[in-house]
Amino acid sequence: MRVAFVGKGGAGKSAIAGTFARLLARSGRPVLALDSDPMPGLAFSLGLRTSDAAIPEDAVEERAQGETGPRYRLRAGLSGAEAVDRYAREAPDGVRFLQFGKLRGQEPAMMRSQMAFRQIVQDLPEDRWDVVGDLPGGPRQAAFGWAPYARTLLLVVEPMTKSLLTGRRIARLAAGMKSAPAVLAVVNRVREPGDVERVKQATGLEVVGAVPWDEELAEAERRTLAPIDHAPASPAVRAIESLVHELAGESHR
């Protein structure tokens, strides 16, 4: 499975993505969790105390003269799988975590890091790793440029005007992509029976999950704990568990 979570800033992408990755790993899958938001948040939702899981500068080289491809690549001899083994942090439940958009070192890092990251994900054998990505908020093009691995984009939408409008913008952009991935909606902070329908209407997307408003998740944030560690039996975590089952049942995701 290769999914990436997108949506408006503050819609709850990281909390859902982190919980999703942990639950997927518990079901026995090898999971690589990728944070490509330059303002990192996924690490905390996974239960790591640090967000520092960047690729070191010396793992990335400028391409040699005469070589084709992107300007920067992993250093010669370093495969994507090795890069994960070496640089990805180990989160609870065996989830491996890489943070992208940052590079440890002096260079203006963004482009080097992006290209190395993209190569790592492309290199990984698909049957070996499930990938769960967390993307920057909003409809910025970067969101899509940074998740070429995703077979499915999971659009996290709150049933509120600005979130719905953002959701519609992202869905429209995704539909216009060359390699258009499937886009499914996950409704977050559901409070009323009509909320799911509201998202369906506004985005025109199939709704694959509905996560209820849950004070326990807010409390987890206040205490810097992963939702799954703070409140494993909470309604929100249960709902994300259903989402995992729903998606894992369809191997093409």
Binding site: K8, G9, G10, A11, M39, G137, G138, P139, R140, Q141, A142, A143, F144, G145, T161, K162, L165, T166, R169, L173, A174, G176, M177, K178
Partner: protein, 103 residues
């Protein structure tokens, strides 16, 4: 007075900006609200509505497609890329939703 509102996604930047702008407008000041977000929603929080907000966003996007000319100065920018909202606040959208997959 020139203020800019910043913060994490979802922390309430747009809502705060809109309320500050309308409050200043109600006090009789001439207010321009600039939406500089790559996800431009300020029109919604100002009470201008989805249709008019989207119209401004499309106008801004037409610039890049060459269907619209750049504004040579501030006054022209505010008049052509702006719209009048409640409490005398003038909204202009100055960012665009970028297209996916650049090169």
């Amino acid at each position: 007075m020139k203020v800019a509102v910043v913060g994490k996604g979802g922390s309430g930047k747009t809502t705060t900006s809109a309320i500050v702008a309308r409050t200043l407008g109600r006090r009789g000041l001439g207010v321009v609200a600039l939406d500089c977000d790559t996800n431009p929603n300020l029109g919604i929080s100002l009470g201008i509505g989805e249709v008019e907000t989207d119209r401004l966003v499309s106008m801004r996007e037409n610039l890049d497609e060459g269907a619209e000319q750049h504004a040579p100065g501030w006054n022209d920018l505010i008049s052509r890329f702006g719209t009048d909202g409640p409490d005398g606040v003038r909204l202009a959208v100055v960012t665009r939703i970028e297209n996916p997959e650049p090169g």
